[in-house]
């Protein structure tokens, strides 16, 4: 019978995986996220700042838990695959020095507004930055004040237009999210919305009832004041 050490050596030999390369799109997603972090944070630490570099990878990585872990990673992979595909079509993944980088393709946004959302009856606040990009409008939402919701529930960010009401809604969802385990909600959401036509932001806590309308409680709200272009 083998000694303990021999038994563990056998176990190590039996279980140690062979060398294996990670999927290219996953590596690319991590690289892009790191590059975006380096650009936006500028040393600002986790979560980044409100720099106008709304990479799709970061948006995907930060998108709400409603999509689930698999959806989040799949979205990153899809986003990266799209970027990689652009390079493949343009002559390969290993671009020339003169070719645009993924950052160049996905960045270059213009900040349209910066506002602070506040709870109607509480101290909770969130910072929101709206960015016009070549691929749409992105809202970077940053707050540590939202409570972690019960499983199945989530927060939803809305662009709200004039005369919006529960009976006659006039709002467009920018996406859903959930605070992370540390209670942070640092999300980048995208919506094809002109903030000049929908000049308010609202965050609701949604019950996860499958109803796409705003059926939950409003927890944050702010008027949008567009910056001079």
């Amino acid at each position: 019978m083998p000694t303990d050490d021999e038994l563990l050596d056998q176990l190590a030999g039996a279980l140690t995986p062979p060398d294996r390369e990670p999927p290219v799109d996953r590596v690319s997603a991590l690289r892009i996220a790191a590059e975006q972090r380096a650009t936006t944070a500028g040393g600002a630490g986790a979560g980044g700042g409100a720099g106008a570099v709304p990479l799709s990878s970061r948006r995907s990585a930060r998108a709400g838990r409603r999509r689930g872990r698999t959806g989040r990673i799949a979205a990153i992979a899809v986003g990266v695959a799209a970027v990689a595909g652009a390079f493949v079509l343009g002559g390969g993944l290993f671009r020339d020095a003169d070719d645009p980088s993924p950052d160049d393709l996905l960045a270059g946004g213009t900040i349209e507004f910066e506002t602070t959302l506040q709870a109607p009856d509480g101290d909770a606040k969130a910072q929101a930055t709206g960015i016009l990009t070549g691929i749409g409008r992105t809202v970077q939402l940053r707050t540590d004040d939202l409570a972690i919701l019960p499983k199945g529930e989530f927060y939803e960010l809305w662009f709200v237009g004039p005369d919006d009401s529960p009976r006659t809604p006039n709002r467009i969802s920018a996406g859903t999210f959930h605070p992370d385990d540390d209670g942070r909600s640092f999300v980048d959401l995208t919506a094809a919305v002109d903030p000049a036509l929908y000049p308010e932001l609202s965050v609701t806590a949604e019950p996860g009832d499958g109803d796409p309308r705003a059926t939950g409680t409003e927890v944050l709200r702010a008027d949008i004041e567009l910056l001079d272009s």
């Binding site: 140690t16 990670p22 690289r31 990673i73």
Partner: protein, 203 residues
């Protein structure tokens, strides 16, 4: 490796958990803290085989395991500013994140039985057909014994023997005390031996 199997060990063959030395790893992590994309890619490639194997043994598919590893690396990127070398090291820190990701997957999808080809079912390091057969003979029995263990026993042995974590590292990754880990490992080895010997008698 100490006689009771609780010492530090470094298995060779297959994916190496530490292809860079401690100083190089510290340098790499320092660059990662600065969001250096090259450093993150290096860390991903370096850690991937074993993180994937850990996840694959606990999740239903290769895709689910890849998702878990990707999520782990993204969370590591998010949290690297809070990482310190005062703990059990970078690998233990990464495994701790991965473990939480896997547990979250359990909460979301329920605990599932892995299907398909598991990492250990590959011809690990075999150099030819005969070598493959010999290795399979050597490994099948201990692998079968390992599968008879509880998930807790499997985890402590995998983190110590395959991931190459120290007892302190396993403690940090699993949120247990180092003493409890050593005790758990000792008991897991005895149970592994019991199953191993039982399977040998059955043959």
């Amino acid at each position: 490796m100490t006689g009771d199997g609780t010492g530090s060990r470094m298995h060779t063959g297959g994916a190496n958990p530490m292809p860079v030395d401690e100083a190089a790893l510290r340098s790499l992590v320092a660059k990662a803290v600065a969001a250096d994309a090259e450093a993150w890619e290096h860390l991903y490639r370096r850690s991937y085989p074993r993180l994937f194997a850990y996840a694959r043994r606990r999740l239903s598919s290769d895709t689910a395991a890849d998702d878990a590893v990707s999520e782990t690396m993204l969370r590591a990127l998010d949290r690297i500013s809070g990482f310190t070398w005062q703990g059990a090291g970078f690998d233990a820190w990464l495994y701790g994140i991965l473990r939480n990701v896997v547990l979250e997957a359990y909460r979301t999808d329920g605990r599932v039985t892995p299907t398909g080809t598991l990492p250990e079912q590959l011809d690990n390091g075999a150099t030819g057909p005969l070598d493959t057969l010999v290795r399979r003979d050597d490994h099948d029995q201990v692998r079968a014994a390992f599968r008879c263990l509880s998930s807790d026993d499997q985890e402590v042995l995998e983190l110590r023997v395959v991931a190459g974590l120290s007892a302190d590292g396993v403690a940090e990754a699993t949120g247990r005390g180092a003493g409890a880990v050593r005790m758990a490992q000792s008991r897991a080895i005895q149970r592994l031996r019991g199953h191993y010997e039982g399977l040998g008698r059955a043959d």
